[in-house]
Symmetry: C2
Subunit: 517 residues, 2 copies
């Protein structure tokens, strides 16, 4: 069967079940409810004054009674410094557990070491918002029998609510915790900021282990994770490599091309009709995206505009804008930069939010629904404005869906920023390899060579033209780029599906096929 | 069938269903799970940038599509100043809705005006932790066909999780809210402090209306109630009578008897073995209970003891102790005194907690499970230390279960304080009219005439005797009291059951029969 973007979607996949094709960004939401039922939260009881402390991660995992076929979940707030996911998976491997579904909110280069566990069928299923490094390459080459499922941050909450992801065990690394499992990422030597993605796992997982390298006297505040969801607490020497926990992609770029793109994007925002007092704003942390914040900040000061909230991945740049009074509030589901931990801990306008509140499409209104302007990156974009942020130009899985489609669908203005070329390959395609975010939710593409407005949004195009913008037809820009380098050779794929890209509503927006090598 | 306290419990009640007899305070909990399944949370979706604002409470209620047989829920954080519950019920009455189950976290004198709605079958079922005033009297005289169900604060969360209470509509009065329904009780002209009991309703109700008399610019922080659970927002002139919202039972008593009792109770605490650095503490707000805090405070200063947390109903007295550094943290599920709102808003050691975290018996450990010492009141106590806090000496329903049984079951030391006589009737009975809290969870009774230790806790009795306490056998104290006034005449009851007292685990600990008049 074909979805509404013309992608062929199988009706059923062994080990995954029936698939529903993508039907449009808001088609299912507009009903006011979800077809799929939600599942009950687990049913537990503990006696008073029982100890939750286990002497090691291994002991805690053993107590959770792991079984073949189980689902285990992790958060990725430690970024590339995480060592707990790999340690936990090695323990399960040593215990001989097989056929595990790994549902981490994202997988990074630091998880390369679990690749052998995919090969020996310890891990046979993966859900994640992103997959990078050796795992991405191996999955693209068919190391798993079942396709991995790529979800958005909001979609992950939906998948847990519906039981598509049904965690048997959740392991939550925390930079501070107490003996009852109250935990946070906002202080401690391994501070990483918000722990927003782990909250839904804690609520729905059958067993929850908190792992910390910083046991504090009861109670550990703020109560980012609360004790009523935590079964076991483990104290370890280290939850990760502090230098890598703190790094990120949050530096403002020095690239002249990125800065040029960012400057144009800020001009687009200024003249979009949405740049006014009380506007809300989200930017990604990569390349040009963050640089847009730099120019928007200058414009806000110049025009004395005060915004309402900044949302999403929060950087120290956002904290600066809060402190300058440019925005009232930061909603922080994920800190892109551990340097924001101090603000998160001490400034009550800097608010930690769970993923459900950030982006779950199935509730009374998540915060992405309230967003005015979002600036997002792209690996590729096609002439229908569909965006790929998951597979690279070599066909490998190497990116992340993240909040891309969530914010695009909610924002009044979605600006995609990217350079015209990556590795001398034009980024505008007739068809992107993999659609993550549908074009109907993307308003503008900004490259260093000009601005293309999605023709669905005539009104915006008029606005920009009236302000003197040179708006290009995306087909013309494509032609221009292709004229410079020629069209890149098509990558060849096998028939086997190695990845499903789930839209936030649970439908399948695209499939990723095995690379021919 | 009889429960483990010898109370006759019907197996089934029309309109309520099968009943399970109480089996002991921890019998069911010790299994590690609940026999009853939990239900899924509602399944909703909203489009981005939709307005939730309704022009009146009536319009919002109409939009929620109320039906005969529905269940509606409210919180009681406005105390005796609440006008929203009665207004909402009158709207439903005018709409001709019948057979409503009203599940308020508690009902107070301010709700007397809904009595006609019980008589005309607009309201046919009631769940509440407490019922007072004319409603209590009328229910005691059989105004409803079905018995009301009295639950504890923790038991209410369990009842919602299991769908025993299944809210079709929840109306949440808030002293501040924004257009998306983020709401709080911690600021505004009608500030009432914590909104902790409403959180579970918001999460599980099919439709949620936030009503405020103080619409603030988005976002309303703190996010005590979050927008993702709120369907409609209504702005009204007033949510209640501010003078009554602010009043409470939080003044330290001047009664010489209460002060004497409190002083003895504080001595008991001092010598219990639990009065040491890091101890946790909860006191009720009534009569002698709060006065115990006064004497414990003095002892803490004298002995330089620093506690961990104070829990529960938080008074300005608790805030003072926090500010003096006597406790590290306040966990505030309910502010007994609106004067604490400022602390709740501005001091991050003063933490608003939902009822689930406070006292739900079915999770990985609520905060009452972590309690060292609790001081509680009683209307009556029997020689097995079973406590009645719901029916008065005249047999009328006039009190509240509240957190009484929750904290008693969790605390290492449960001290019941009460005067020997109320209206010249001895408070020690062979059998109390109505058991709310089982004697097995009560360690000590303190009256102005002496201290009785539950014989189950020999070790505690030894401790106290070794410290020079005159410990009395409760049977001897009863004899002494009866010798003074004679035994009060037994109240006469009809056979009809007008109330069920549910223990926190969902079993029935007692029934309340119709008063013979």
């Amino acid at each position: 069967m074909k979805n509404s973007l013309g992608k062929e979607i199988p009706e059923y996949i062994e080990g995954i079940g029936k698939l529903e094709p993508f039907q449009g960004a808001w088609t299912k939401l507009s009903k006011g409810w979800m077809d799929e039922a939600t599942i009950p939260a687990p049913n537990k009881a503990k006696m008073a004054h029982q100890s939750k402390i286990c002497e090691s991660l291994r002991v805690a995992i053993e107590k959770s009674n792991p079984k073949d076929g189980m689902t285990i979940t992790f958060h990725h707030h430690l970024r590339n410094g995480d060592i707990i996911l790999a340690q936990s998976m090695m323990i399960l491997h040593e215990m001989g557990i097989k056929d595990i579904t790994l549902a981490a909110s994202s997988l990074n280069d630091c998880h390369d070491s679990i690749l052998p566990l995919l090969k020996d069928k310890t891990i046979t299923g993966i859900w994640a918002s992103g997959i990078r490094g050796e795992l991405g390459k191996a999955i693209s080459r068919g190391v798993l029998e079942k396709p991995v499922i790529i979800h958005s941050h909001g979609g992950r909450v939906r998948a847990i609510h519906t039981g598509r992801i049904r965690p048997d065990l959740t392991i939550i690394a925390a930079s501070a915790a107490d003996i009852e499992g109250n935990a946070t990422g906002s202080h401690g030597k391994s501070a990483f900021g918000s722990i927003g993605y782990a909250v839904i796992d804690a609520r729905y997982s059958k067993q929850v282990i908190v792992v910390t390298d910083n046991l504090v006297p009861y109670p550990c505040i703020p109560l980012s994770i609360t004790q009523n969801f935590v079964d076991y607490v483990v104290v370890v020497d280290s939850i990760g490599d502090a230098s890598k926990i703190a790094t990120g992609t949050t530096r403002i770029t020095n690239s002249p091309i990125d800065l040029k793109i960012a400057k144009i994007a800020a001009d687009v925002i200024e003249h979009s009709g949405l740049f006014k007092n009380g506007f809300s704003f989200q930017v990604g942390a990569g390349g040009a995206s963050l640089a847009v914040a730099k120019f928007v900040r200058e414009k806000m000061k110049k025009h004395e505009i005060k915004g309402s909230f900044m949302l999403g991945g929060i950087t120290s740049y956002c904290v600066d804008m809060l402190n300058e009074g440019l925005f009232e509030t930061l909603f922080d589901v994920q800190s892109f930069d551990a340097a924001v931990s101090n603000s998160l801990l001490n400034d009550r306008r800097h608010i930690e939010i769970p993923a459900a509140l950030y982006a779950n499409p199935y509730n009374c209104g998540c915060m992405t629904n309230k967003l005015d302007i979002v600036v997002l990156g792209a690996l590729e974009i096609d002439t229908d404005f569909n965006v790929n942020v998951i597979t690279g130009s070599d066909g490998n899985i190497r990116g992340a869906s993240g909040g891309h489609s969530d914010t695009a669908s909610g924002a009044e203005l979605t600006v995609v920023v990217c350079p015209s070329f990556r590795s001398r390959i034009p980024i505008i395609k007739d068809k992107v390899h993999t659609i993550v975010t549908p074009g109907e939710t993307v308003h503008v593409l900004v490259t260093e060579r000009g601005v293309c407005v999605n023709p669905k949004f005539k009104h915006l195009e008029e606005n920009l033209k009236n302000c003197g913008f040179k708006v290009m037809d995306i087909l013309d820009l494509k032609k221009e780029l292709d004229g410079i380098t020629g069209v890149a050779k098509e990558i060849e794929f096998e028939d086997k599906i190695v990845g499903l890209v789930e839209y936030r509503d649970g439908t399948i927006i695209d499939v990723i096929k095995q690379l021919k090598v």
